[in-house]
């Protein structure tokens, strides 16, 4: 049932009251088993990120070096083994969730926000505005991500915030292009013209008619970009422009382990698995959300 009959209007007629928008999206979302699994995984991951901040003492459990426990393979006492500094890989992987999740979300948030707005304006207005925006975006696209990141970090200093901003800005062009092309297809629809005829402002048309209908392509792009943001952050950590060394960011852990990788594969397997599981969960949720937001796909 799409709606339930309940509310009464003053003249006594009962009208069909819609479930709230959120209820409806949830109703659709939970039909998709994969998406629900992804959501549960994501909730657990977020839970870990929050709880690990209270359970572990950052200095003691995560960063302190213990010469006695160097490079132990997984065993009962150290389920994920220990690394070259004698730190528990389990603790570091769990604690690293905080960084990787933060990076993924902030980077994609920045690039989706800016990119979608630029693309939407370019696609909606067309003409000169479009030319100017898209040329600028293309100039940014020409610069390799790494180079852009290096420039940014060199200019503003090495820190997590700067890393996230650099990564976010370097993916803006992708979002701008995706948004522009899907906005252009939506703009051609008569309902946009109908909204204009009703006197709806351009700004409102973009937000209430154009973007919701252009959302699916952007959402898919965003979920896949979370994964690549986490991996790019690892790359930057690897060349020393990302998160400084003792920080248990998953990518940084991978690069720290590169010398001992052959003999102690657990050093890369567990952070790698963590990246994979997180990315998978986000993608599943993203797909489910895309389908749930589209009323045409209702069964």
């Amino acid at each position: 049932m799409l709606f339930k009959k309940s509310k009464k209007i003053d003249d006594g007629r009962s009208i069909y009251v819609k479930k709230s928008r959120m209820q409806e999206i949830w109703h659709q979302f939970q039909k998709n088993k994969g998406a629900v699994v992804g959501l549960i995984m994501l909730i657990i991951i977020i839970g870990i990120a929050i709880v690990s901040g209270f359970v572990f003492d950052y200095k003691e459990d995560i960063c302190a070096r213990h010469a006695a426990t160097r490079l132990i393979k997984p065993c009962l006492e150290h389920p994920f083994g220990t690394d070259q500094m004698g730190r528990s890989v389990l603790a570091r992987v769990l604690y690293g969730t905080r960084y990787s999740l933060l990076i993924g979300i902030v980077v994609v948030g920045v690039s989706t926000g800016i990119g979608t707005m630029l693309g939407a304006i370019a696609g909606y207005y067309g003409g000169k505005i479009e030319t100017v925006i898209m040329r600028i975006v293309e100039i940014f696209m020409m610069i390799p991500n790494i180079l852009l990141g290096i420039i940014f970090v060199a200019a503003f200093g090495i820190s997590l915030t700067n890393l996230m901003l650099a990564l976010g800005l370097s993916t803006v062009p992708h979002f701008a292009r995706t948004a522009r092309s899907s906005v252009m297809t939506v703009r051609g629809n008569e309902y946009v013209e109908a909204a204009k005829a009703m006197g709806v402002s351009d700004f409102k048309i973009i937000f209430t008619h154009v973007l919701p209908n252009a959302l699916s392509a952007i959402l898919v792009q965003a979920t896949t970009r979370v994964a690549s943001a986490i991996i790019s952050a690892a790359t930057f950590s690897f060349i020393g422009l990302g998160v400084p060394s003792p920080t248990p960011e998953w990518g940084a852990m991978l690069s720290d382990a590169r010398q001992n990788m052959r003999d102690f594969p657990h050093l890369v397997i567990f952070p790698g698995l963590a990246i994979m599981v997180t990315v998978l969960a986000i993608n599943l949720v993203g797909d489910g959300l895309r389908d749930a937001l589209d009323p045409k796909l209702k069964r």
Binding site: L2, I9, R13, E193, A197, P212, P295
Partner: protein
């Protein structure tokens, strides 16, 4: 004489294309009286829809004047135009693409009311939406359905309800029934006619269906390649078409009587290009009566008999 609601003078809309200026609408003038319907007919690409859209400034006209109740709306500023949009509405041709697929019937009909701040109280808006739904014959249970769950006729009813929501005086009906099944066409036409009677609406009814226009319009304007070629009251136009194009158009109406003699006037040749047309009668290339004068200069619209306007050097009797 009844009051003039809308007067269009020399409305012109050119589109620039790589090959030159496309004369979509070229110096069209007409008036519509309050409470009447002007039917606009013509073949595909003759500029009927563009005329309708240019009047509402959905596409800015290149030149011309449009007087609505004596005020030139083409000179209006943004804010004034925003007010004006309450007076003039449009019903679109394709009810499949003119409704946002992500909005429910309720949200679609509510939009013009909320956006123009006609009502602010939530309850009142709800009541008004239901009232509009019953006006156009939509069952209350469809309140929360999405357009894709409905058939073409019901979708078009949503389109009509949306147009009515702001209490307009004038509605451009841009081929409102051509995308619908024949059985539903009649329902929607009857609905439009009833609404005109009840609410005193004035229509500009754009169509290529001549049977529909005869049933529907008080006056008929025939367009060809961006030009208005003939305008007359419906009865008069059907009884005494004067422009060769109108004659050919009328002879193409199917006659249900199979024994009746059929004398179709077949037009030869193709419609000429609307890009940079030469200064001659636009119909000259296909006209059976074409002569020197027709290729030498373009005929202007003139009144042959009372209220009957023709743009032809040699109007037929």
């Amino acid at each position: 004489m009844s009051e003039t609601l809308l007067e269009v003078r020399n409305l012109t809309k050119y589109f620039s294309t790589p090959r030159g200026l496309l004369h979509a609408v070229d110096g069209v003038s007409f008036t519509i009286d309050k409470g009447k319907t002007l039917g606009v007919v013509g073949e595909s690409g003759c500029g009927k829809s563009t005329t309708g859209r240019a009047i509402l400034r959905l596409q800015e006209p290149t030149a011309g004047e449009v007087y609505f109740e004596g005020k030139d709306i083409l000179k209006m500023k943004r804010r004034e135009m925003h007010q004006m949009r309450r007076e003039m509405q449009i019903i679109f041709q394709d009810p499949y693409s003119s409704l946002d697929p992500r909005k429910t019937v309720n949200q679609l009909i509510r939009e013009p009311i909320v956006n123009n701040k006609l009502l602010t109280d939530k309850m009142e808006i709800e009541k008004r939406v239901l009232e509009l739904m019953s006006t156009v014959g939509l069952a209350e249970r469809l309140y929360n359905t999405y357009p894709h769950e409905l058939d073409g006729g019901r979708r078009q009813r949503i389109g009509i309800a949306r147009a009515l929501a702001v209490n307009p005086k004038f509605i451009v009906c841009d081929e409102p029934v051509s995308a619908l099944d024949v059985s539903i066409q009649a329902q929607v036409l009857n609905l439009l006619k009833e609404l005109q009677k009840d609410l005193g609406l004035t229509y500009m009814f754009i169509t290529h269906n001549l049977s529909v226009i005869y049933y529907f319009a008080d006056d008929i304007a025939v367009m060809y390649l961006g030009r208005l070629v003939e305008k007359a009251p419906a009865e008069e136009l059907f009884a005494h078409p004067m422009h060769p194009y109108t004659q050919a158009l009328l002879s193409a109406i199917p006659n249900p009587d199979i024994d009746a003699p059929r004398n179709r006037l077949l037009l030869k040749g193709e419609i000429s290009s609307p890009i940079n047309p030469p200064p001659q009668c636009r119909f000259a290339k296909r006209c059976n009566y074409c002569c020197e004068q027709c290729t030498a200069g373009e005929p202007v619209l003139r009144e042959i008999s009372p209220n009957h306007f023709v743009a032809c050097h040699f109007p037929l009797e």
